[in-house]
Symmetry: C2
Subunit: 134 residues, 2 copies
């Protein structure tokens, strides 16, 4: 399982209606999709930048993961996602055997239909890390 | 001044000697440079991932910006850097006129010989943002 590029950088924001116009101006590109991920209690907004993306995340529930993050730490970078060539239960088990702490022991379905799994920031020097494959 | 790609993601760590081997394993690529930026009181380590980079930052002084960051927030993503086609005092003034708060009113010299300027996280939805050009 080799990471090939940064798939996206996830940024927690309080309000997409304010953050989208700001990032459209900064990145000089239009937000190309807004998607609600009910299971994660977030609304997401995507921007393309080179071969990667910025994903803005607004909580739809104060008890959801983004709601709690913003409450505790304020707005800011929430996670870093790498595209990998193949994400499987076996490749995650291999990471675990290298003492990487997994949040997801097997891949699940994320935004944009990707297969995703998260690694715990305790074992990645503080970075909530997502692995994604198509 | 148009951002063309993510130039790098800066991650504050406590100890490069521990963080470098971890990121070499995760990214399956060797750290290609370690550089001290005395002015910023940091030692940096770089990894290539696709068209972008991961920059690990270890403080060389508890009173420096990375030392204070790690003390307050722990290890984790410190800043997000975008490559832009042309970074100048004029293009920064244009951002300021759009109510973006600047840390650097004119470009200065950063790691790897780039011209850089930082935007304040208060006006970027919590993301310490760096703009870079060659």
């Amino acid at each position: 399982m080799k990471p090939t590029r940064i798939e996206h950088v996830g940024i927690a924001v309080k309000n997409l209606d304010e953050a989208i116009p700001f990032y459209e101006k900064l990145l000089q590109t239009k937000c190309y999709a807004v998607e609600e991920v009910a299971e994660q209690k977030v609304k997401t907004a995507f921007f393309t930048i080179g071969e990667t993306k910025i994903e803005l995340l607004e909580s739809t529930d104060p008890e959801g993961p983004i709601g709690k993050f913003v409450e505790k730490k304020g707005e800011g970078v929430h996670h870093l996602a790498f595209a990998v060539d193949e994400l499987s239960e076996e490749s995650l088990a291999e990471l675990a055997s290298d003492d990487v702490r997994l949040i997801d022991k097997k891949p699940r379905r994320g935004a944009e239909g990707l297969r995703i799994a998260f690694l715990h920031p305790k074992s990645t020097h503080g970075v909530l890390t997502e692995l994604c494959s198509e």
